[in-house]
Amino acid sequence: MTTILKNHHGFFVFLIRSFFIIICISLLVFRIGTSFAAVIKIGEINPLSGRFAKNGIEIHQGIEVAIAEVNAKGGIGGATLKLVTRDDQSRPDVTISRAEELCSWEKVAALTGGYVDSLVGPIAAVSQRYKTPYVASASLQKELAAQKNPYFFRVSRLQGFVEPLCEFITKRFKGRRLAVLYAATPGSTELAQDLKRCLKNRGLTVRLMEKFRPGTPDFTPLIAKLAGMKIDVIVSGGFTPDHLLFIRQLKENKITPKAYIGPFGIAYESFISALGNDADYLYSTCAWNPGITTPGTEKASASFVNDFQKTFHRQPNTTNMHGYTSARVIIAAMQKVLDNRRALNGENIRQALSKLDVALPMEHLSFDPNGDPINYRHVIVQIQQGKLVVVYPPDRASGRDIYPMPTWEQRN
C-alpha cells in the first residue's frame, strides 16, 4: 500500500486538486444559480406534528393556497414565491432552532405561521434578532405585542374576541348567572380576565371564575359544581377537545345550562361533525367562515374557498383563513416594496407592513404601532341544525339566536 502511494504520488495529488476545483466550481454555480433564479423565499414555521398538529396543518394549508394563488398569476415583480416550511413539533425549543435555520441558513425574506403564543413568542424573538419580519397567523397574548418588537406583526388579537363577546353577553344575558371557565394558557387566561373586567364595567357579575388544564380528562365534578350554583350561562375559554368532553359530560349528566359559549374551537365543521346534533345551540365566535366574510370581500372570499377546495377537497375553515391572511399580508407588503423599486430586505418589508392597508376576507388589515391588527373582530355565531348562524352584531346577523337551549330530554 505504501509503495503504491509512493509510486503514484503525483497522480493522487492531481486527483485531490481536481476534486477540490470541481467542488469550488459547483458551489459557485449553485450560488449564482440561486441568486439569479428570481425566487423569493418565505419561511413558515408551524406545528405540523404534536398536540397542535391539527391547527398547524390548517394554517399551513391556508398559506399554501395564498402562495399558489400569487404564483399562478406570475408571482411578484417577476419572481416566483417559494415557501420554505418547517415543523416545530408543537415544542417551543424546536421552534427556536427552526426559526434560526430559516433566518440564517435559508435567508428567507419574511416569516409567517405559528399557532398559540408559546410557539409564536420564540419565532418573534428570533425574527427581531435577524431583522426578518414575522407575521404570526394565530396569536393573542397582549404581552407579545407590548414587547415593541418592530419586526413582529400578527393578524389576530385578543380584543377581537373580547369586545363582541362582552357586548353580546351584556345585551343578551343581563341578569343571568354567569360562569367563566378558562384554560391555563396565556391567551385563554387573558381572555377570561379581560372579559370579566369588561362585564364588570357594564354592571354584570361573574359568579364563578375557574381555571383548568387543557386536556382535563373529566369535567363532571365541575359540572356538578356549576349545577349546584345554578349557573345559567357558561363561557368556556377551553379548546376543541375541552368543549367536546364538556358537552359530552353535560349530556351524560343530563345538565343543561341556558347558554354555553366557547370562543375558541367551536365554530368548526370538524367540531360540529364530531358532536353531531349535540353541537346545536352552542355559541361561539368566528372571524371568517365560507358564509361569513367581511362585507365587500365576498368575491375574494369565494375565490379563496374555490382555490382551497380544488387543492384540499374540503371546505376551508377560519384557521385556514388565518394562515391565508398572514401569507397574503406578507405578499402585499413585498409587492409594495418592489413597486417602489426598493431592495427586498427585512427593513423595507417591515416598513411596508407597518403602513399596509389591505381589504382581505377575514378583516380590513392595517397594523397599529405594536403590530396588532386594528380591525380584527369576530362575530358571534350559534350552531343551529349543524350550521353556523351569525347572531351578533345585528348588521351582520343572518338569524336570531335560540335561548335558552332546550334540555337534553327535550331534544330526544
Binding site: N55, R213, P217, D218, P221, A224, L244, L245, N253, A274
Partner: protein, 285 residues
C-alpha cells in the same frame, strides 16, 4: 351533588384503571417501560372508530378488530424489546419513545388531525338510583373495569400460567431457576397487555376523544396509576384509580379545578415517601 361526585370519581378511577392495566402487566412481567402504551390505546380506539363510523360496524363488534391490531403491534414491540440490553428500563424508554413518535405520526397521516368521538346514544342515557343519577357510561366503566380485573384475578391466582407469571413478576431469575420459561412469560404478558389495550381503546374513544397526540395523556395516567398501585400489583390498580379519581374530583369541588393536578402530585409524592412499594405494597424500604 356529592353523590354525583362520588359516582363520577369512581367511574373516572375505573377509566384510569382500564387505561393502566395493560401497561402495568407488561411492565410488571418484563420490566419494559412502554412509553408507546398511550399511543397503542389511542390507535385501537381509532380502529374501532373507523369500523364504527365508516363501515357502520356495531360498536361491540369493533372490539375484536381493535384487539387484533393491538396484538400484532404489541408482538412486534415485544420482538424489538427482546433485542435490548441492560439497563432494560432505560433502554426500553428510549426505544418505546421512538415507537410512540412513529405511531403518533402514522395516526396523524392516516386518521388526520381531527378530533374523533365514538358516539353511542345509549351510553349518554342513565337512570336514577336512590336519589342520585348514574349514566350508562359510568356504569360501563365501573362494570368493565371490575369484570376485567376479576378475569385477570382468575388468570393470575387460579391458573398455573398465572402462578408462573406472578413468579416472574416477583423475581425473574428465581423463576427461571424454577424452570419457568421467563421469555415465554414476557410474550404472554405482551399478549394479555395487548388484549387489555384493545379493550381500553374503543372505550377511550367512547368516553374521551381520539386525537393522534392524546396518547401522551393516557401514558401518563398509566405510569401514575402503576406507581401508585405498586409495580406488579394488579389488585392495587383499581384502588389506586379510585383514590386518585376521588382526590381529583373532591379537589375540583372544594378547592377549584386549578388545584387538581397539584393535589394528585402531592398525593403521589406522599405515597411514594411513606409506601414506596405502592398502596398495597409491603416490601422493605
Amino acid at each position: 351533588m356529592w353523590s354525583t361526585i362520588v359516582v363520577s370519581s369512581l367511574s373516572l378511577g375505573s377509566f384510569y384503571t382500564l387505561v393502566a392495566l395493560g401497561f402495568a402487566l407488561i411492565f410488571g412481567v418484563t420490566r419494559n417501560f412502554n412509553l408507546a402504551h398511550g399511543e397503542l390505546v389511542v390507535l385501537s380506539g381509532y380502529v374501532s372508530y373507523w369500523l364504527w363510523k365508516i363501515w357502520a360496524f356495531p360498536f361491540l363488534l369493533t372490539f375484536p378488530a381493535a384487539i387484533l391490531i393491538s396484538l400484532v403491534i404489541c408482538l412486534g414491540l415485544e420482538r424489538l424489546f427482546a433485542h435490548l440490553y441492560a439497563p432494560l428500563e432505560l433502554n426500553s424508554i428510549v426505544l418505546s419513545f421512538g415507537v410512540a413518535v412513529v405511531i403518533q405520526n402514522s395516526m396523524l397521516f392516516f386518521f388526520s388531525g381531527d378530533y374523533r368521538l365514538i358516539r353511542i346514544p345509549v351510553l349518554s342515557r342513565g337512570f336514577h338510583l336512590s336519589g342520585f343519577y348514574i349514566s350508562y357510561t359510568q356504569m360501563t366503566l365501573l362494570g368493565s373495569s371490575l369484570i376485567i380485573l376479576f378475569l385477570l384475578y382468575i388468570l393470575m391466582y387460579r391458573t398455573y400460567l398465572g402462578k408462573a407469571m406472578r413468579a416472574t413478576i416477583q423475581d425473574k431469575d428465581a423463576a427461571a431457576l424454577a424452570g419457568i420459561n421467563v421469555s415465554a412469560m414476557g410474550t404472554l404478558a405482551f399478549c394479555i397487555g395487548a388484549v387489555l389495550i384493545g379493550l381500553a381503546g374503543p372505550l377511550y374513544g367512547c368516553i374521551h376523544y381520539l386525537y393522534p397526540s392524546s396518547g401522551q395523556e393516557a401514558t401518563l395516567v398509566a405510569v401514575t396509576i402503576t406507581i401508585f398501585a405498586g409495580v406488579g400489583r394488579l389488585s392495587g390498580i383499581i384502588l389506586a384509580g379510585w383514590i386518585l379519581g376521588l382526590a381529583e374530583s373532591f379537589t375540583v369541588v372544594l378547592l377549584g379545578v386549578s388545584w387538581r393536578e397539584m393535589v394528585s402530585a402531592v398525593l403521589l409524592l406522599t405515597l411514594l415517601y411513606f409506601r414506596p412499594h405502592g398502596i398495597l405494597g409491603h416490601g422493605e424500604r
